[in-house]
């Protein structure tokens, strides 16, 4: 029923040849362990919206990275997401999983720096939790 797609074979070969560094990234491992998923939070607070409010902005980030800046083509991001989720984020619910994989891809591609991210998260956290 579904034919073999030569382009998919090409993509697999191309992506496999890049030897994506799939080793764990400490800052993301920490979030994976400590972060509370939307599923958990929405249950606790009795919120019915099935998606976290940040899902739409995450999708926009993926879209602009692919369509506007071409820094991370959507098809390659998804390929890496599959691989990274298999390895590290299989137990994380969606879309938290997508977010972790995106950050992982960006770091491994050198588009953002792991240390910068850790630092910037502290800054954002301070801003969002400010009283």
């Amino acid at each position: 029923m579904t034919e073999i797609n030569p382009e998919k074979i090409e993509l697999d070969q191309e992506m496999e040849s890049r030897n994506l560094d799939k080793s764990a990234i400490p800052v993301l491992e920490k979030i994976k362990k400590q972060g509370r998923s939307w599923k958990e939070l929405s249950n606790q607070y009795g919120v019915e919206n099935p998606d976290p409010p940040w899902k739409i902005t995450l999708e926009a980030t993926c879209d602009v990275l692919s369509e506007v800046s071409c820094a991370l083509p959507g098809i390659e991001r998804r390929w890496e997401e599959d691989e990274l989720c298999d390895q590290h984020y299989a137990d994380v619910p969606f879309p938290e999983r997508q977010l972790l994989a995106l950050a992982h891809s960006l770091i491994r591609r050198g588009l953002i720096d792991e240390e910068d991210l850790a630092k910037h998260m502290q800054e954002v956290s301070k801003r969002l939790n400010m009283v």
């Binding site: 979030i31 400590q34 972060g35 509370r36 998923s37 939307w38 939070l41 929405s42 606790q44 607070y45 009795g46 919120v47 019915e48 919206n49 976290p52 409010p53 940040w54 739409i56 902005t57 995450l58 926009a60 980030t61 879209d63 602009v64 990275l65 369509e67 506007v68 800046s69 820094a71 938290e96 977010l99 972790l100 995106l102 950050a103 960006l106 588009l111 953002i112 910068d116 991210l117 910037h120 998260m121 800054e123 954002v124 956290s125 801003r127 969002l128 939790n129 400010m130 009283v131």
Partner: protein, 231 residues
């Protein structure tokens, strides 16, 4: 409708994931991978603000019987005239399961009132109407509208006279629907822009009817800062 005195529950806690999302986005902007404006434009794409393209479609059809015919016959083609290309304008350019490229415009008559629901999930004509309101996706609306439509419409403040047929449209496959309500009295001589103003989102779903003077859509969901930054 939901009890107006009780605010909807919110998650009163900032998660690590929420922080990560914002941090990744801000770093990408800082590194020049894209601009904040690019990001805003893509985010807003699905969260259409201001007069909806679908509202203009209805206003145009009220003024132009030929265009009305086209709307009823081919909603996708009619959408082009209000700037919506169901096929090429979507980021995907083919129609995802949420945005299949078949629009039908259900025209009300004095004896027929349409109202749209998706009992299976939340299918909604997003390209022309933006994101669906929260209540549209609730089991309450989905389950009850097909069976007790007049009761549900009454909860929206809409009483349909006995001699008018209520037609529920259940969006279960690849067609997406909007309702073209009757042009209300008191709008004689109005321009397209004036008419567009009164065709609110709820009128296009079919749970409200347009009235002169009632121009604002229901307040759109605003995610208020839990702990606003004090300058």
């Amino acid at each position: 409708m939901a009890d107006k005195h009780k605010p909807a529950p919110m998650v009163d806690e900032v998660s690590e994931f929420e922080i990560l999302e914002l941090a990744v986005r801000e770093l990408a902007i800082e590194k020049g991978l894209f601009t904040a404006e690019d990001h805003q434009a893509w985010t807003e794409y699905m969260h259409t603000l201001g007069p909806l393209p679908a509202a203009r479609l209805v206003a145009k059809a009220w003024l132009d019987p030929e265009y009305k015919k086209l709307c009823i016959e081919d909603g996708v083609k009619a959408s082009l005239e209000v700037g919506i290309d169901w096929i090429n304008q979507m980021p995907t350019k083919f129609g995802t399961p949420s945005d299949y490229c078949n629009l039908r415009v259900m025209a009300d008559t004095p004896k027929l009132k349409h109202v749209v629901v998706c009992t299976l999930c939340s299918c909604y004509p997003r390209p022309i109407l933006g994101q669906s309101p929260e209540w549209y996706r609730t089991p309450n609306y989905r389950r009850r509208l097909v069976r007790w439509p007049r009761q549900v419409l009454t909860e929206f403040g809409l009483q349909i006279p006995e001699d008018v047929e209520v037609r529920v449209v259940d969006s279960n496959q690849k067609t997406r629907y909007i309702v073209m309500p009757e042009r209300p009295e008191g709008t004689e001589g109005w321009t397209e822009d004036q008419l567009t103003e009164i065709v609110t989102r709820d009128c296009l779903i079919g749970v409200a009817v347009p009235k002169p003077g009632k121009t604002a859509n229901d307040p759109r969901p605003v995610r208020k800062a839990l702990k606003p930054y004090s300058h």
